[in-house]
């Protein structure tokens, strides 16, 4: 099949068009936004990276992970540790350790001194942890609500752990006050722009990766595992492996989001990684449309934006708004806002016969509480 006909296939053409449009919008942003707004947008893009990963794990794979804060946090803290060490200079000790700690850099910080190993670790540690944890949990067939609750507990534990290690992690203060990003001065607006562009590029790459995974056979397999894990086993696949891949990919995306968040926001603290922010990551995904490609990205950016701008006007109003949005979308529009467009389109075409209809509503939950087997 040549490129031209591939382009003409409606699904692919529309996706490419949407992708191109998104890329164009992202690239144009620096020209129209003030540095502060651009910074905000860059931050939202980092959060959206977490959402893209959740879209894959949850939207496609049915893995409701309430603990993405852990991976976001891992990426963010690893990056922050590196930046702290880099700021301190060769052999130097980060400022907060001088104040609250022993005045010595603990051994497990040392590997992060080198920029290269820092980047490698930012990718490997979350992937490794997710693979390990996923493997342990999925091979034991922990799923559905069990998995959700467990991942939530994980986020809680991670936050508590960070808070408790004041001397080496900064405790509730987190890590902040970075001067440079791989040698580039963070106070320089031009470098901020560069960070924005890196974030935008990373996000686009992630979206492309998720798209490829979704349309590939792996994507179909993921759906199969979501629907009937046991049946997949009888076909000779190991469902745990399939889930682990999706979970680990989501973890890496969250970690990269976290790692880029640090130089852009200038801070990471336990408040960014616990139970509440972890659920926060889901809001955008659910509202945008968990099973769609761009839904999580757009939803996440829209929610972040709404949070920032609405809370500027009405601090407590934002909470009502957020709560109401969540309730309304999930209860009444489980496919997210992305499905709203589809619904409208279908309503208009309602009279037309031969419409295959609403079966296979991708937003259905597929992992029932384990015991609820329809025996």
């Amino acid at each position: 099949m040549n490129v031209f006909t591939a382009l003409l296939r409606p699904g692919r053409a529309r996706t490419l068009a949407a992708f191109g449009l998104a890329a164009a919008v992202l690239l144009l942003a620096p020209m129209v936004l003030s540095p502060f707004r651009l910074d905000l947008l860059a931050k939202f893009l980092c959060l959206a990276m977490v959402a893209v990963g959740i879209g894959l794990a949850w939207g496609r794979g049915g893995l409701l992970t309430l603990g993405q804060g852990v991976y976001f946090g891992l990426g963010a803290y690893l990056m922050a540790m590196h930046l702290k060490l880099a700021d301190a200079g060769p052999g130097g000790v980060p400022d907060f350790m001088l104040l609250y700690g022993t005045g010595q850099v603990p051994g497990w910080w040392e590997p992060l001194r080198s920029p290269v190993s820092a980047i490698v670790l930012i990718l490997l540690v979350p992937a490794g942890l997710a693979a390990l944890l996923g493997w342990a949990v999925f091979t034991r067939r922990v799923r559905g609500a069990y998995f959700a609750i467990l991942s939530q507990a994980l986020a809680a534990a991670f936050a508590i752990l960070l808070i408790g290690q004041q001397q080496t992690t900064g405790g509730t203060n987190g890590l902040n006050g970075f001067r440079a990003f791989f040698g580039y001065d963070l106070a320089d607006p031009l470098n901020k722009q560069m960070l924005y562009l890196i974030a935008a590029g990373a996000l686009l790459v992630m979206v492309a990766v998720v798209r490829q995974l979704s349309v590939s056979r792996f994507g179909e397999l993921l759906v199969a595992v979501r629907d009937q894990e046991d049946r997949v086993r009888f076909l000779g696949y190991d469902p745990a492996a399939v889930k682990v891949v999706a979970y680990a990919v989501a973890a890496v995306m969250a970690a990269v989001g976290g790692a880029l968040f640090v130089p852009i926001a200038g801070i990471v603290s336990p408040a960014d990684v616990g139970v509440v922010p972890s659920i926060g990551f889901l809001i955008g995904v659910a509202i945008g449309g968990r099973a769609t490609l761009l839904g999580p990205v757009l939803g996440s950016i829209a929610v972040s934006w709404a949070q920032t701008s609405i809370s500027e006007q009405f601090p407590s109003g934002w909470i009502y708004f957020q709560g109401a949005l969540f309730i309304l979308v999930i209860a009444f529009l489980p496919g997210g806002l992305a499905s709203f467009a589809g619904k409208l389109r279908r309503r208009r075409a309602a009279a037309a016969p031969g419409d295959a209809g609403a079966s296979g509503d991708a937003a259905r939950d597929h992992e029932l509480v384990p015991e609820r087997s329809p025996a």
Partner: protein, 289 residues
């Protein structure tokens, strides 16, 4: 798109099956299932005990017995779904103790008493997944470009070509069962364990399915669990009867049918056999076309 009004009647296509199966009959020649001293226990309740069973290629074996005799449990044990003791070997591979997906990769496939397909995926995707357990990771990460040959054939074989893009969830009961059989075919299972595959099918559909099973059975090791005696009589090469977890009888259809113990626990009073009560499957001769 698909709509029920124009839904085509699905039909088994044996010619397609031929194309799918006929390639190299030789490679299955040495396959046989050997079960020795199999025992399955659920907290003190012994569901299967001392079962010995040997099924060879070309022998379409039916497994019957009263409800709760342990037939499904036997299949569960062979496919790794329940823990069992004893020995189950297929070819030269010991299956007991392996995990389910490894057993499947060793060439063992099964269907379920209640049809279970991937409801959100289309018929085609269901088959494609079944065909792909041995695909390499890289292949998995690529998009399916065209329908694999085997999948195409399987679609024709089970008569679901017209419904290939319909989500499997909307198929009727019997169609799902055919889809499952199709999945077994593309899965390239050498040992097929079918749990009541024709339940819910019309007489005509049973005939077609039977013919298909016979065709498959001529080449692979097939075990069919079924309560439909009509169907059994038409297609079984040999029969094993289980009762209370043990093998009660084994032999040809005729031998088994006339075994008093089998009649007693399973088939029902011989008086009925004589044809007075057409309400029994064994006597509804008129149903044969």
């Amino acid at each position: 798109m698909f709509s029920t009004q124009e839904q085509p009647q699905t039909e088994i296509d044996l010619a397609a099956a031929e194309a799918l199966l006929g390639t190299d009959a030789d490679r299955f020649r040495h396959d046989y299932l050997e079960v020795r001293g199999l025992r399955v226990e659920f907290d003190g309740f012994v569901a299967v005990r001392d079962v010995d069973l040997t099924v060879t290629q070309g022998d379409l074996r039916f497994l019957v017995g009263p409800n709760g005799a342990g037939k499904t449990t036997l299949i569960d044990a062979v496919t790794g779904l329940v823990r069992a003791t004893g020995s189950v070997s297929f070819g030269r591979t010991e299956l007991l103790g392996r995990s389910t997906h490894r057993i499947a990769r060793a060439g063992v496939g099964r269907t379920f008493q209640t049809a279970s397909v991937f409801e959100e995926l289309t018929v085609l995707q269901n088959l494609d997944i079944a065909a792909g357990a041995r695909r390499r990771p890289l292949t998995l990460l690529r998009r399916r470009q065209d329908t694999p040959e085997a999948v195409e054939r399987a679609l024709e074989t089970v008569g679901l070509t017209a419904l290939r893009d319909v989500p499997a969830g909307v198929l009727a009961h019997g169609q799902k069962q055919w889809l499952e059989i199709g999945m077994l075919l593309v899965q390239d299972a050498h040992l097929l364990l079918l749990d009541e595959p024709v339940a819910g099918m019309t007489q005509a559909e049973r005939e077609e399915t039977g013919a298909l099973l016979r065709r498959i059975g001529s080449q692979r090791v097939v075990v069919v669990v079924e309560h439909d005696m009509e169907f059994l009589r038409s297609f079984a090469d040999s029969v094993t009867v289980m009762h209370q977890g043990r093998v009660l009888a084994e032999g040809t259809v005729n031998e088994v049918q006339n075994d008093p113990a089998v009649v007693e626990v399973y088939l029902g009073a011989p008086a009925a056999e004589s044809g007075a009560a057409p309400a029994k499957p064994a006597t509804t001769e008129g149903d044969l076309p």
